[in-house]
């Protein structure tokens, strides 16, 4: 059975290779091939899953060692896979959502002459993401980690002729590299501490080292997570990443890749459990991002950017939960999965809208679309209800659990975190309602696009709507399915462990509170965007709004400090290299020449001068010899 694991990766990888090297002759079948291979991977996943269910909870993990990768003295790095429940969860999520989005893209990218390559990249991404989640050591994980980074780079910048896209892609990769730095340092620390970086040995040996070491490792891992999962302070790239085709945003920047950070932290739970300080930092990061993303989401008029903000915020929830330790791990993952469904659905919906609106992204130019694209409206609506946590839908269960867990953290921390999560829920309700209203309700505010074509909104083709429907199902029922009888909890517990903590307030109270804030959020949004007409051009807005529109100025900070500063630094260094380092050398050469020129003058052509020098020379010679004898 374990030999199948490699197949998970092999299928999409093969697809990537074939499609990217295949050349034009594959253009016609490329997308089918890509989809098929993604699907194949999904099938394998299902097979493995059923097999896994067949086994008892504690020997579900599968291992497969392919070959020893970097055999160097005192350094063992293998290409080996480990498939346990946690990995399995991700594998299913990735392959299923991945396949759906492949299908969706067939329609979405229909008119793009580089569709084949698009599917190649998608396959590459799926392969890398799978490596990430089934690697059995941190180094191989790192490979997947950077692999998805590469795929995301290629896909964000897929429309490279748009400078904005190219820049966004570059930005995403660079910010992620900062995170990767953290990961590689973490791996080095593990190597020097444990002599290995395979999950098993490391996570079992955490007890044998100091808390300080663990904290250091933990923080480095967190840095990595921040990069990948767009957490403060490395969140800036996610918004720009929306430059990519919408399916990409749905798959990579909503459902799967951005949640890798959560996976990393949960996977490394043993380390964090041993490093409370690190956990605290994780929680803080999560909380901050949660609010940050939510606030940004409120101000954006670009539908995808609004959703991106929401993604950030939702991942904030997950990170926060992961930071809570055993109390939260399971729920972090659970929210991750449900979020995978409904957020992917929302993005696909957004994509469908744009598809109908000549790729218009400004919600202020939508309005009243529910009549024109019913399917989109319904699926999007369900996704909306799910994310705001409407009772009974996925989001309701998963988010609720996190809020409970936050309180369960206990003490003032618990209260603060609880409050933050609740506040976040309120804001979520607000901005999602805002999106919903601006897009599908109210009167039409459509405007002709750059070429002056008036938009003729229409429902998208089947290839696009079907995935949306499927995901909608997921967003409706997944949460319930997981929670009833704590299925998900029992499923993951063997891997992540679980503890109930001590909730100062009962679950029902929390639920009630959640409902209250939910209603408030929706109501406020309704008041602002439902009752009165939405202006087609954004009003100046309050200071906060304007700040939020600019990602709370965090981007400007980066620009001024990092970009500008960097440019000045490099420019001055170039100068230094040329005038100082090089100057010294050229200077020496020049001075030699000068000296030579001056000495040359002595050779003035007069025999008598020459005689003088001889005479002087002799005098010196004699004097020196006598002197030597004297002393």
């Amino acid at each position: 059975m374990e030999n199948l694991i490699a197949l998970l990766v092999a299928a999409p990888l093969l697809g990537a290779v074939v499609l990217l090297c295949g050349g034009r002759r594959l253009d016609r079948v490329g997308h089918w091939l890509g989809t098929a291979l993604a699907g194949a991977s999904f099938v394998v996943a299902v097979v493995l899953f059923t097999d896994m269910l067949g086994r008892s909870a504690d020997d579900r993990a599968l291992h497969q060692k392919l070959f020893s990768w970097i055999p160097v003295e005192g350094f063992q790095a293998d290409v080996a896979f480990q498939l346990d429940q946690l990995s399995m969860t991700f594998v299913l999520l990735i392959t299923s959502v991945g396949t759906l989005i492949h299908i969706y893209s067939i329609g979405y990218m229909e008119h793009d002459e580089r569709r084949r390559r698009f599917f190649g990249y998608l396959n590459l991404f799926v392969a890398a993401m799978l490596i990430l989640v089934i690697a059995d050591n941190y180094l191989l994980l790192y490979v997947g980690w950077e692999g998805v980074g590469l795929a995301s780079y290629l896909l964000i910048g897929f429309w490279q002729h748009k400078p904005s896209a190219a820049t966004a892609a570059k930005k995403a990769f660079l910010v992620n590299r900062v995170g990767d730095m953290g990961l590689s340092i973490a791996i080095m620390l593990m190597f020097t501490t444990f002599g290995t970086f395979a999950f098993g040995p490391v996570l079992e040996a955490t007890g044998e080292t100091s808390e300080g070491k663990l904290t250091a490792i933990g923080l480095m891992l967190l840095l990595a997570a921040c990069g990948k999962s767009a957490q403060v302070p490395l969140q800036s790239w996610l918004g720009d990443a929306m430059e990519g085709p919408t399916p990409v945003s749905a798959l990579i920047h909503a459902a799967t890749m951005v949640t890798a950070g959560v996976y990393l932290i949960v996977r490394s739970g043993a380390i964090f459990n041993g490093a409370p300080d690190a956990q605290l930092v994780v929680v803080v990061v999560g909380a901050v991002t949660l609010l940050f993303g939510a606030i940004v989401g409120c101000a954006k008029d670009d539908i995808k950017k609004a959703l991106a903000g929401s993604t950030m915020s939702q991942i904030g929830y997950m990170i926060l939960a992961a930071g809570l330790g055993p109390i939260g791990y399971v729920f972090a993952i659970m929210h991750l999965v449900t979020h995978g469904f409904f957020k992917a659905g929302l993005f696909l919906g957004a994509g469908s809208v744009m598809h109908g609106m000549n790729d218009e992204v400004d919600m202020r130019r939508y309005g009243g679309l529910r009549k024109y694209m019913p399917v989109t409206f319904v699926t999007f609506g369900l996704g909306y209800l799910a994310i705001i946590g409407f009772p009974g839908l996925s989001g309701f269960f998963s988010k609720d659990k996190i809020i409970e867990a936050a309180f369960a953290k206990g003490g003032t921390e618990g209260w603060i975190l609880g409050a933050v999560t609740l506040l976040g829920a309120a804001i979520t309700a607000f901005y999602m309602t805002r999106v919903m209203l601006m897009t599908f309700f109210g009167e039409k505010r459509w405007q002709p696009d750059a070429e002056g074509h008036d938009p003729h909104p229409h429902e998208s083709p089947k290839s696009m709507t079907i995935p949306m429907i499927v995901l909608a199902f997921g967003s409706v029922f997944a949460g319930g399915f997981f929670s009833i009888g704590d299925r998900f909890l029992h499923w993951l517990e063997p891997v992540t462990g679980h503890s109930h903590g001590d909730a100062p307030v009962s679950a029902t109270t929390v639920t009630a509170a959640t409902m209250v804030v939910l209603v408030i959020g929706v109501a406020v949004a309704w008041v602002m965007y439902g009752r009165k007409a939405v202006p087609a051009v954004a009003p100046r807005g309050s200071l906060l709004t304007r700040a939020a529109r600019r990602d709370l100025l965090q981007d400007d900070f980066n620009h001024v400090v990092l970009v500008r500063g960097g440019e000045h630094l490099t420019r001055s260094l170039v100068y230094v290299d040329h005038s100082l380092v090089d100057g010294v050398v050229n200077g020496t050469a020049a001075s030699m020449g000068g000296l030579s020129g001056r000495l040359r003058k002595l050779q003035n052509g007069y025999a008598r001068t020459y005689a003088v020098s001889m005479f002087g020379g002799t005098a010196v010679l004699i004097a020196a010899t006598l002197l030597m004898r004297a002393v």
């Binding site: 040359r600 003058k601 050779q603 003035n604 052509g605 007069y606 025999a607 008598r608 005689a611 003088v612 005479f615």
Partner: protein, 99 residues
């Protein structure tokens, strides 16, 4: 009288000759100064020969004279040809090549 005085004289003559070489412009004169130096050497040789009571020095003096004579032949030939082609025997005029 003390033969050492002759040595002092020889040294003096040598120095005078050297000084002449350094100071005078006319090639002939310069050359004469060189001859003076050679003579100073001869004087020294002879004096030492006398002091040591062996004749080597005197013999050498003869050789020196011969060599000097040969030098005169060659030297004059060169200087004269230079003079003929430049109408000047000044060593300072002969400074085409420098630097």
């Amino acid at each position: 009288m003390n033969p050492v005085n002759y040595l002092y004289l020889a040294a003096l003559l040598f120095t005078i000759g050297a000084a002449g070489v350094l100071i005078r412009r006319n090639a002939i004169v310069v050359f004469m100064c060189v001859e003076l130096m050679l003579n100073a050497c001869n004087l020294a040789f002879v004096t030492f020969s006398r002091m040591h009571g062996n004749l080597d020095g005197q013999i050498i003096a003869f050789f020196t004279m011969v060599v000097a004579a040969a030098e005169v032949v060659v030297g004059l030939a060169i200087i004269v040809s230079l003079f003929r082609s430049r109408h000047s025997a000044s060593v300072d005029d002969a400074s085409l090549m420098k630097l």
